[in-house]
Structure formats: C-alpha cells, structure tokens
Amino acid sequence: MNKRWRETFTLWAQSEEFTRRVAEAKQIIKDALKDFQKPYCSFSGGKDSLVMTHLVWRMKPDIEVITLDYSRNFLPLRYLLEIKDIARKLGWNHRVIRSRILEKDENDGIPRMMQVLNREVTPFLLREGFDLAFVGIRKEESSARKHRIEGHSNLTKIPEVHPVADFTWMDIWAYIVSQNLPYMRFYDIYAKVLGWENVRFSTFFDKELESLGGPNLDGFFSYRYRYKSPPGKKPL
C-alpha cells in the first residue's frame, strides 16, 4: 500500500462514521457471544474476514479461527502459508480444515462449494460442537450477499452472525491500517491495477469466476501458480 492510500485510510479511521460502524460491530459480537456457547470465526484469509476475526478475537481471545483449505487446485500453497502466517503473527487459535472434494476437483468444472460445505465442513463443525459462525461478508459486496444478510439465511445448519455486514471497503482498509494488521501480499499486487475498492480474495484460476474474468487476472498476476506440480512431486 502506498503512502497516499495509507494516509487516506488513517484519516478515514478517525471519522465518526467509521467509529460508529466499529462500535455497532462490537455490539453485534457482544450479543452473539452472550447467547452462544461455542462459536468460531470463519477466516478465509481475505480482508473482510481478517477484520471480522480481529474484532471477535479482541473480545474472546480463545475463539477458534477456522480456515477451509481450498486445495492446491484453487489456492496456491504460498497463499495458504501466508494465511497461516497471519494467524500465527496475531496469536490466533487457528485451524485449517481440508476438503477431499476440492482436492479431487481438477478445476475442469465448477467447484462444488455447497457439496463441500454440506458433506464435509458442516458435519465436521457440528461434530466439534460449534453452535455459531462469525462470517465476514458485507452487504456492499453483492446483492446476493445483501439478501443473505438481510434475510438471515444461513448457508449451512450452523447459524451465522455477520458483524462487518455494514462496513464499506474504506472501513475495512481503515481498520486494517489503523490496527496495523498484516494482510495478504497479493492485495498490493492486484490493487495497483484493480484499485483498493475492487480487489478481492477468492480462489485462483477458478473456472467458476470466468464470467468475471478471474482467470484472466490470475494469469497475469499469479502466473507462477498457473500450473500445479504433478502428484507426488514437491510443489515449486
């Protein structure tokens, strides 16, 4: 992030609007923690879940932070290591769960995310006794997410809470800058071209995102991860 953007976000972090939204998020988290016994934070490694997890962790430092490993087919190893590194630096109780469905998917079609959630992730989380998920999605991101948040429709059987639902992209970056949080380096690379308002973390070289040009961007910026090492060989 360059100096000008850093200054912009620092100034925004002092605004009344930002302070109000952070206070609201904290209240949502406080209420949720009062009502549920064993919540967890869903941390993808992206900026929104980073802010959300940090807010929750400050109020409940022993909370479990769970990341779904999208497998080498959708997430280069370097990025997964970076996610783990961020969690380690912040001292979170972090756990990565693997998905066999995604590991088998050779990216020749749409990844079966609902299958992954319903067959692998949710049964595992229910077995572990989790009763609430903190999810870092925002209304601003898409109309589908807005409807999901406003309709209180949960993706799985585990109820969800969205503390940063009303945050804007400026709020998110202002929180990261003001708290001096480590974030994924890929944001700096992609944001130079896409802009800080548009840059998003998701799967890489994913055909599901072809309609948005995701593989085009990844081919240009993440070209060193275009090809995966053959099975049994050390990833390059």
Partner: protein, 255 residues
C-alpha cells in the same frame, strides 16, 4: 472419421503444408522485431512468445480451412510431436527456440470490463431465459490491457522469412476480435548481439532448468509452442531471472 484416421489426416496435412513453405535453408542472424500497435494489447499472461505466434501462423497456413476442424479431444501437440518438421525462420539452440518474450514500451497494465450478454428481447420468444447461470449466462469479464504502442522481440532468425510469415499477422494478444492489439506496422532490424535466450546474465524467455547450470528462480512454465498445452510445461527459469546456462547449451547457441 475414427481417431487414427483423423490423426493421420491432420499430420499429413501439417507436414506437407509446412514443408512446402519452410523446407529451405535460412540465413540466421540476431534480429530485433519491432511490432507497432494501433490499439492496446490485451493479455492473460505477462508476455507473448514470438515463436508461439509464428507456429500458430504456420499451422493456419498449412491447414487452411481445416484449421477450424482440428480435434478438440486432444491437443495439437499430440499430432505434431512425432513429426519431423522442417526448420522455421527462427533458429533453435538444441531444443530451445531462439526467440525472446515480448518487451513493452509501457508496462503499466490497466483493466477493462467486457460484457457478454444475450439480447433475448430480439429473439421473439415468450419464455424468459435465465441469464444467471447455464448456457445463456451473462459475463462481465475483466481484461488486463497494456496501452503500449510498441512490442519488441529479440530473435535469431531469417529476416526475409520472418517478414514473410509476419505479414499475415494482423493482431497480437487476446481478444483481437474486440479490437485489441491491432498491428500498424512491423520492422525487423539486424543487431550485433544475440539477446534471444539470455542477455546480461538474465533469462529472456522461459528456459528449462535442465539446460542451466545455476538459476535464481524457477517454477512451472510452458517453454515451447503450443504454449497453452500442458505437455510443454516444465520447471523453467522465468524471464528476467538471473541464470547461467550449461556450456553445451551455450555452444548450441553459437551461429
């Protein structure tokens, strides 16, 4: 047509077509190819390979209209693998094509969104088509474009041969049907130094590590045409990375 017949048909057509045109002796020399563009260049990879462009043009010419009937079940590299194709206007140092990647005058990329949408209101059908997913899905694809007026390549090749084959090239890069990457003119000038594979200790193109003595960085890359085929992917030293070639590779580079 069964697979074997199909394979033989295309192999024969490629071999005859390419031999007819390229089966002659070339006068190789270090060259700088300058391609001036009329419109910005869209890419989904950070560079373009000149040898890939030439192979594509040669194949199109050899196959004619059959180019559009090529089998989709297996890559073209499966057909061309066993064929003894004649020399190209580009020299090969052993197996490595002596052609650098593209160098741009302006490397600052930008993005543009291209919308692909079926205008079903003109179809005269009553039933509403769903555009969210499936066959009629709408696209809002982001494309990376580079507003460069000039693309440079360094090759060891035959000037006349290259000019002849490049005269058929109308555009470079991706999505030229949308108007991107149109060529205004091409200049080829002889230079004193060979910069095709390595220059000032840095790789000018992907070089497989088996041809190198030492290298600073490596990852999986395609290093021979067709560059889109995974058959051509190997652990390579990327362009721009410091590299030292094996003595036998350097020997093969000598004219």
């Amino acid at each position: 047509m069964n697979e074997e017949k199909e394979y033989l048909y295309f192999a024969d057509k490629i071999l005859n077509g390419v031999s007819e045109r390229w089966g002659k002796k070339w006068n190789y020399e270090p060259l700088e190819v300058r391609i001036y563009l009329a419109t910005p260049l869209v890419l989904n990879h950070p560079w373009v390979h000149l040898d890939g462009v030439l192979s594509h043009l040669a194949l199109r010419k050899a196959l004619g209209q059959d180019y559009y009937l090529l089998p989709a079940k297996y890559p073209i590299s499966k057909i061309t693998k066993g064929l003894e194709l004649p020399n190209f206007p580009i020299r090969y140092a052993g197996a490595i094509p002596q052609a650098s990647i593209s160098f741009f005058e302006n490397v600052k990329p930008r993005t543009e969104v291209v919308y692909k949408k079926l205008e079903d209101r003109w179809l005269g059908i009553v039933k509403k088509l769903y555009h969210g997913s499936g066959y009629f899905k709408d696209y809002a694809m982001k494309h990376i474009y580079i507003p460069t007026p000039l693309v440079k390549f360094y090759v060891v090749g035959d000037k006349e041969g290259l000019l002849e084959i490049l005269s058929e090239l109308v555009s470079l890069g991706d999505n030229s049907r949308l108007g991107w990457g149109y060529i205004s003119r091409i200049e080829i000038t002889p230079i004193n130094e060979d910069k095709s594979i390595i220059h000032e200790g840095k790789a000018m193109r992907p070089i497989p590590v088996r041809f190198c003595k030492s290298w600073a960085d490596s990852f999986l890359l395609a290093w021979r045409p067709p560059y889109w085929s995974t058959d051509m992917v190997e652990e390579c030293v990327p362009p721009g990375s410091e590299v030292e070639l094996l003595p036998e590779t350097i020997e093969k580079m000598r004219l």
